[in-house]
């Protein structure tokens, strides 16, 4: 029998190793798998490269992982937001690396990684500092930059519901990077609000087919990151 359901976030992230590349879903707090990230903080893996659109807020979730000095490098499009202070401080001190990638290029590089495409050309960033040092090429009289696919050792993804095959659906704009990140990691670990029986998800509406998912853990009441930030909470509690 196929059963990808794992009992706890701690078990789900147990195999993460030092130096791993981890993709973390979410756009701001929407879709951020905060319980998986907290389990990773407890687990202790370090020297991580994190691929995520932002760098977290306050002192919980991704921001807390960074604050614990577990992250060597961030690959993201927007490393500062209203309540992000952890990354900016470390970055200013030169204590964390940053690879800044335009948001659409980031999404496409992840998709390419998952789809077996090692590189592609994009018009985004041509004539800007973010194209410096990159190969460019003319197609039909227009200039494009070559970008590489990205793969990860792990993806941490939050979704709405999952079944034991790993089929996933998401909730509204919390979908964001989750589906492409699921495709691009050797091991995709998902926290789902609800684990459902096979067949409960309409086969026409599955967003992430189970083939892209290795582990699912149910987190029925995920923390509301913005509330934690407003209350100035810090992880570990």
């Amino acid at each position: 029998m196929i059963n990808k359901i794992i009992k706890t976030p701690a078990e789900a992230v147990a195999e993460v190793f030092d130096g791993a590349v981890i993709m973390i879903s979410g756009f701001g707090e929407a879709g951020s798998p905060i319980e998986l990230i907290h389990a990773l903080i407890d687990q202790g893996a370090k020297d991580l490269t994190i691929v995520s659109n932002n760098t977290g807020s306050g002192h919980v979730g991704l921001a807390s992982l960074i604050e614990h000095r577990r992250v060597k490098k961030m690959i993201c499009s927007f490393p500062r937001t209203a309540n992000s202070t952890v990354f900016p401080e470390l970055y200013t001190k030169g204590e964390i690396e940053l690879e800044l990638v335009p948001q659409g290029t980031l999404a496409e590089r992840i998709r390419a990684g998952g789809a077996g495409i090692p590189a592609f050309y994009t018009p985004t960033s041509v004539d800007t500092p973010l194209a410096e040092g990159k190969e460019s090429r003319i197609f039909n009289n227009k200039e494009y930059v070559m970008e590489y696919g990205i793969k990860a050792d792990f993806s941490f993804v939050k979704c709405q519901a999952a079944d034991r095959y790993g089929n996933l659906i998401y909730n509204k704009t919390a979908r964001n990077f989750g589906p492409v990140m699921c495709t691009a990691a050797t091991t995709t670990i998902v926290q789902a609000r609800k684990v459902v029986e096979l067949g409960e998800i309409d086969p026409e509406c599955v967003v992430t087919p189970g083939i892209f998912v290795q582990k699912v853990v149910e987190v029925s009441n995920p923390a509301d990151e913005s509330k934690l930030v407003a209350e100035n909470r810090r992880y570990p509690w």
């Binding site: 756009f27 701001g28 707090e29 929407a30 879709g31 499009s77 927007f78 490393p79 500062r80 937001t81 209203a82 990354f87 900016p88 970055y91 200013t92 940053l98 800044l100 990638v101 335009p102 948001q103 659409g104 290029t105 980031l106 999404a107 496409e108 992840i110 998709r111 994009t122 018009p123 985004t124 960033s125 041509v126 004539d127 800007t128 500092p129 973010l130 998401y170 909730n171 509204k172 704009t173 919390a174 979908r175 964001n176 990077f177 989750g178 589906p179 492409v180 967003v207 509301d224 990151e225 913005s226």
Partner: protein, 218 residues
């Protein structure tokens, strides 16, 4: 010229309204964070416009009523929004297929600087101690069919934001089609900048004086 410097021209809402009038029925539109977001409030009755937000929603509606916010229904500025009837959700790669693939009709963005050739700088001042952050700005200017910029005509220090050549790092080269400022609406064309409309109290000489690139009359 001190008294002239005091000219305020259009206020934010008036600027947004001017831009809104140029959005036709049926357009697919992405509005940048900040002043561009105001534009949605001024689209004339009878026009149906569909708003895209790059974090995965086509058919974005207005802010929710207090107490009805959903932290998983937000816009690119991470503010709570709603979804209209006929909306749909999708992932980031599909969202940027819409952008990069030239499926969106109009994007309205803010600016730090715009050049006389339509180069845009709106993501970084290039300051050494700044934390660089680009988001979807470069994708939008590279992919959306028509780029409108909405911005104050001059900086707080009185410097022109429309310049001969951008000194800040570019977001994209030759990408802006029209600029809405508190002083004027200016078209960026192959032949240079053309003044389409001026705010009450603004004349061509005043406008040119506060613009770093050559202006032309239609």
């Amino acid at each position: 010229m001190v008294e002239k410097e005091m000219i305020k021209g259009w206020d934010k809402n008036e600027m947004a309204q001017k831009a809104a009038l140029d959005i036709p029925n049926g357009a697919y539109v992405n509005l940048g964070i900040g002043m561009p977001e105001l534009v949605a409030g001024f689209v004339p009755e009878g026009r149906e416009v569909i708003y895209h937000t790059e974090n995965g929603l086509l058919g974005m509606g207005p802010s929710p009523e207090p107490g009805k916010e959903d932290p998983e229904l937000i816009n690119a500025g991470k503010k709570n929004v709603t979804a209209i009837k006929g909306a749909c959700y999708f992932h980031h790669a599909d969202s940027f297929t819409m952008i990069r693939g030239q499926h969106l009709d109009i994007c309205v963005l803010g600016a730090l600087q715009v050049s006389g050739q339509g180069d845009l700088a709106n993501w970084s001042t290039g300051a050494k101690d700044a934390i660089p952050a680009v988001g979807g700005a470069m994708d939008l200017v590279a992919g959306v069919k028509t780029i409108y910029v909405i911005t104050k005509h001059i900086t707080k220090n009185g410097d022109p934001k429309i310049v001969e050549k951008c000194t800040y790092p570019l977001t994209g080269k030759k990408v802006v089609d029209r600029i809405y400022t508190n002083y004027a609406i200016i078209d960026v064309t192959e032949k240079g900048l053309f003044v389409k409309e001026m705010a009450p109290g603004v004349d061509f000489d005043f406008l040119q004086k506060h613009t770093g690139a050559k202006l032309n009359r239609y």
